[in-house]
Structure formats: structure tokens, C-alpha cells
Symmetry: C2
DNA sequence: TGTAAAACCGGAAACGTTTCCGATAAATAT
DNA sequence: ATATTTATCGGAAACGTTTCCGGTTTTACA
């Protein structure tokens, strides 16, 4: 009880309090704080000591207001719980930290409306920059990006972007889907199915499916709700219900692929004998399941690090550099879910 | 090129600019912004329109400085890439968002020095509160928590905390380890090993091991570097190298358990016939491997949500409430890695 | 229509920093 | 010794909001 009162009463100590107690001016304290010279070693030591005693920490809001920088960047991802996104978040934070920045994190749910809203929200936040990984790409997103006037790095998981986008872009070369399809065809599969999230998310992956087939059999295309394990299981149920099952499935990501394998196991469908399966992401888990999952590696932590570094470079150069576009080459990693066991490359 | 210049020159538009253009005082614009009455519908509409035109967004730093709140909370976790931590991060963010707060995320690497440093860093950040999930618990951590005077929620993954800790605590009942050990003994295993991270992290889990055995055979205890898949594989190598292998392994978490299973498969060790294995966390992946992993569920998203809500309650009540302690009861979920297949409870 | 109350609005002070600029003290040069 | 430079420091003005307080206008009521 007393504690709470004490806590509530505890006044924040300001630079002025420190100045008074140390018997100097506030300007001097500020100089001691940002040690940039113009102050004698003696007074500085004195001030540092007083700061220590009083437990003073400068108010970030006031600092930011004055210097017009927050030293924060935002990170907008669809869902921190999914696939390679923790890797990306991790590497973005590491890179940011190295440059003295913090990251505030926002999940957009990969939802078109929320992606837009988030961008507007972030503008209000007055953060120094933004690393964004959009999924749904509502029409207005690009123009909104162009308007904000805020440094932005886009991690491009899916779509072809306008050439005039005013943001750095680090993307996958959008060849992942093609790699998977070529692999499945090459191992002799002919009835290849697609299992994915709604069509408007990561469209490129579905396009790769369409484009690599002379014509698509719509009964072999399953659009689920999201990118989850459960969606994979539902896809498996769907394909199992067909009179004529596919002999291969291209899954939009590893989570879905793993869900399919999991359900097929219950249903007695053999992988890869009856159906070959391949996903995209190549996360750790693809190597842990039985069978291990053939996948395409998209190197999340590399992507995240690079996106953050491009952003920070732009921030520090006050935007006075050309917009960069970097593509990561994905790499197919063949494992047991598509070919015979013990016949695969390690990641 | 021109664009960059344009961008660099773009002055931030302030509330004063809006006031001038709308022909009103800044106080009025502020009222329009925080729509709390004292303003006619007409002028408000006018102002809103001008704001729209000029693309004005209020400066958060100035607001925070004035109202002495940042509407940000910090979230300090060991490593966003691990186990249930994405679940926790997700649910903390969702809860925060509902109350109009943002979360800035910090990974401490579960490292004692960094946990302390992070706490100091966060104090500088002047966020409104902190959800923290410590692993290493350096000695000074508790007293530092008591000193900050900042609302804190601790997600207690491991240690017994001092009764006078000035923070809300939501924890596991610290029975997870006991549950695992009882299970392994109950199914008749006698040489039970422990595979874990360094002893100083999540000590409770190791203590549960010690306490449930008459005496510990040190050769059956393996302390790895971290909580990773790779650590699990190394543990497997170690146990395999013993002349007299254990017949059961209690793994500090599922990642490690999965790593062990993975390596044992390569080595031809049968699970659970030769060695029964059980972990803690019960994440999705425990159900995806073959064999599926026996585990203890600790309900990450529930824990995260509750921690955030306790914190926000404390923030909003200005700390004038008793400190709460909530324990989540863990639940053992028996799967194939410890008993015969098809003999398990679904999560 | 006149008056009291209510609604609306603007000026200015504050929030806690950084930084410019001028002033003083110390150091160096003459 | 004085004159000049240099190092050190303090005052005060910003930064962009919110909010108190007083003043004006409108509305309500008799």
C-alpha cells in the first residue's frame, strides 16, 4: 500500500533537477549526456555522478521532439507466428540494434484492409522508417507508400511491384514457384495440384502454377484460408475426396505442405509414392518431419537483415540515394517428400 | 533525383500550419483531433478537411512529452525464433492493440548480462510498461525490477521469485518438469536422462529432474548451449556414445526433443522402444514429427495475453493495485515418443 | 427583447530536451 | 604585463503538442 503511494508520487527527475543539484546549467548537463566536448573533465565527472545518484534517464519523447528522430523503425509483418517471419523479425532487430535503433512490431494478419490501415497508423507513429512485408497488396498500397515520404523497405514476398515505387525492395526472385513446378514435372508427375492460401495473397506463387501448365484443371486447385498447418490438412482432405487424385502437390508454403503430409499419413496415402509434395520456405521443420519436405529456401534472415540495412542507409542519408532492388535467388532443396529417401541435398 | 530533393525538402506539417490554413487557433485544432467536445460540428468538419488536405499527422513525440505517456509497451523475450515465443509475442501485441498500445520488441538472447542491460535500456526508452520473459535471471534482476518504478509483467518461465517482487507475474506452475518425470517413471523407465540448456537457464526444469530421482547419475545429464534443434542432436550424440544408454530422456523443451529424435533416427535408435522421449512446450511441431512428441502444454498465447492485460491494467490504474500472481497449470500430453502409437490424447 | 447560461474558441504556458549565442574564465602569445 | 585566442559554461529559444483560463458568441428562457 505504502509502496503504491510511493510509486505514484515518484516524480520523474529531469535534466533541470540534475543541473540544480550539480550546480551547473542545463546546457552543461546536456553536454555531459551526449558527450560531444565543450565540457571539462571535472564537471563532466561531477554531473555523471549526480546522474547516477538521482537515477536520471533522459526523456526520449523530449529528445525526439527536439532532434526530430525517434531511433525507432517499425516492422510490419503478416503474422509473427508463421514460417520464416520470426527469422525475419529477428534479423531486422539485430541489424537495427547495431545502428542504435529499436523496432516496434506490428502484425497485419496479411489482410488487405489491415495492411493499409497499418501503414496509416505507422505514419502517425512518426517512426524513422518502416520495414514492411505485405501479402495482400491492396491496390492503394503502392500509392500510399509513395505518398508517405517515410523511408520504407519492402520485403517482397509475392507481387511484381511498380517500377516507380519509392522504396527499397528486397525480394525473392519470384522463381520459387517455377522451381517447384519444374521439379515436380521433372520427376515425372503429371497431375500436379496446387494448395494455397486465398488467391489474392502471394499471387505470384499461384501464377507460377498456372504458367507452367498447358491448362489448369480447376479441380486440382485448392485455396485455403491462410498459410497454416490446418489449411494443409483441409487441402489433404479435399484432394483425398476427389475420384481422381493428383500425383503431386505444390504447396504454397511448408506449413501447408506439412499439414498435407500429416493428414495423408492418417488417411494412408503414401508420400511420395502416391503423391509427391513440395513446399516453399525451407524452414527447420521441413527437415524434421517424416518424410522430410522438399522445399525452396528463401533465406529469411538474410532477407530481413538486408531489408533493415537498406532502410537504415536510407534513413542516415536522409533519403538521398537511389532506390535499390535486390533479389534473392531461391534454391530448391529436394527431400523425401518428392523423391526416394536418402536422395536429397542438405540445406 | 528531383524526387529526392522534393522528399528532403518536404517540411513536416504541424498543428499550427493546420490552424492557420483553417483560420482557427491551435487549441481548436487540438480539440478537433482528440474529439472530446468543446467544438462545433462545423469548425470540426472544416478542420478535419484541412487536415486531410495537408496530410497532417500529429507528432507523437510532442504528444507523449505533453501527456507523459507513450502508449508503447516493451516486450523483452529471449529469442523470437524459439518455441512458444512467437505465440507470446503475438498475443501480447493483440492485447496491447486492443487498448491502443504498441509494442516494441527486444530479444535478450536469454543471456544474463543482456537481460540486465535490456532492462536498463528499456528504462531509457520511457515506455509505459514492460512485459518481460527472463531466462537467466542474474542476481541483480529482481532488485533492478523493484527499482525501476515502471509497471512490469513478468512471464515466469523458470525461477521461483521473491515474494516482494514489484511486478505482476504470470507463470507456469513449475510443475512441467515433475509431470514429465512422473510420466517417464510411470511407464516403467528407470534410466532417465536429462537434456537441457545451460544449468543457469530455466533451472526449475532441471531441479524437477534432480528432485524426482533418489540420486542423479551425472553421466545421464547433458547441458547444451541453448534450446535448439541442434542442441538436441548433440545431446543424442552424447547419449549414444555412452556404454550404457538411458531408456528415457526428459528434454528441456520440444525443440531439443525433436532434435534428439531426429538424430536418433539417423543412428538407428528406436523411439520409444529403445528410448522414450518427452519435452515441454507442446507446440504444433510436436504433433508433426514421427513419432509425435510427448510434451507438456504451457499455453503460450494464454500466458502472453494475460501478462499484457495485467500490465495494461496496472498502467491504467497508475500502479495502484496489488501485485498479482497467476499460475498456469501445465498439462501433460502423451504421444508416440513415449508410448505405443495411437495411444495419445489430442492437445 | 433582455438577461443568464451554455457553448465555443484563442492565447499562452507547460512538457523536457538540444543547441545557438553570448559571456566569462583560462590559456597562450606578444 | 597586456592582448588575443581558446576552452568552458549558462540563458533562452526552439521542437509540436495539450490544456488551463479567460473572452466572445450563441442559445435558452423569462
Amino acid at each position: 500500500m505504502e509502496r503504491d503511494i510511493e510509486m505514484a508520487n515518484r516524480k520523474k527527475v529531469t535534466i533541470e533537477d540534475v543541473a540544480k543539484k550539480a550546480g551547473v546549467g542545463i546546457a552543461t548537463v546536456s553536454r555531459a549526456l551526449n558527450n560531444q566536448g565543450g565540457i571539462s573533465a571535472a564537471t563532466k565527472a561531477k554531473i555523471v555522478q549526480v546522474i547516477e545518484e538521482m537515477g536520471f534517464t533522459p526523456n526520449t519523447s523530449a529528445q525526439s521532439l527536439k532532434i526530430r528522430q525517434t531511433y525507432q523503425i517499425a516492422l510490419a509483418v503478416p503474422d509473427i507466428r508463421n514460417a520464416i517471419i520470426p527469422d525475419i523479425a529477428w534479423s531486422v532487430e539485430q541489424a537495427a540494434k547495431q545502428h542504435g535503433y529499436r523496432v516496434v512490431q506490428i502484425n497485419t494478419l496479411g489482410n488487405a484492409r489491415l495492411e493499409l490501415e497499418t501503414l496509416r497508423e505507422i505514419k502517425k507513429l512518426h517512426v524513422d522508417g518502416l520495414v514492411m512485408m505485405p501479402l495482400a497488396y491492396p491496390k492503394q498500397l503502392e500509392s500510399l507508400i509513395n505518398q508517405t515520404g517515410m523511408p520504407i523497405s519492402v520485403i517482397n514476398y509475392s507481387k511484381r511491384l511498380g517500377a516507380d515505387l519509392r522504396a527499397d525492395v528486397v525480394g525473392l526472385s519470384r522463381q520459387e514457384g517455377r522451381l517447384v513446378m519444374e521439379h515436380l514435372k521433372q520427376i515425372g508427375r503429371t497431375r500436379i495440384a496446387y494448395a494455397g492460401a486465398p488467391k489474392d495473397k502471394i499471387e505470384e506463387r499461384y501464377f507460377a502454377y498456372e504458367q507452367s501448365l498447358p491448362h489448369v484443371d480447376v479441380s486440382l486447385v485448392y485455396f485455403g484460408e491462410d498459410f497454416s498447418f490446418e489449411t494443409g490438412r483441409q487441402a489433404a482432405n479435399y484432394f483425398y475426396s476427389l475420384k481422381h487424385m493428383p500425383d503431386a502437390i505444390y504447396a504454397v508454403n511448408d506449413m501447408v505442405a506439412i499439414g498435407i503430409v500429416n493428414r495423408f499419413k492418417e488417411l494412408g496415402v503414401r508420400v511420395p509414392e502416391d503423391v509427391a509434395i513440395a513446399g516453399i520456405d525451407n524452414n527447420l521443420w521441413s527437415t524434421v518431419t517424416t518424410p522430410q519436405i522438399t522445399s525452396v529456401s528463401i533465406m529469411g534472415s538474410e532477407v530481413g537483415r538486408l531489408a533493415a540495412e537498406l532502410l537504415l542507409k536510407r534513413i542516415q542519408s536522409a533519403g538521398a540515394t537511389e532506390y535499390e532492388r535486390v533479389e534473392f535467388e531461391p534454391r530448391l532443396i529436394v527431400r523425401e517428400s518428392s523423391v526416394a529417401a536418402n536422395y536429397y541435398t542438405r540445406p
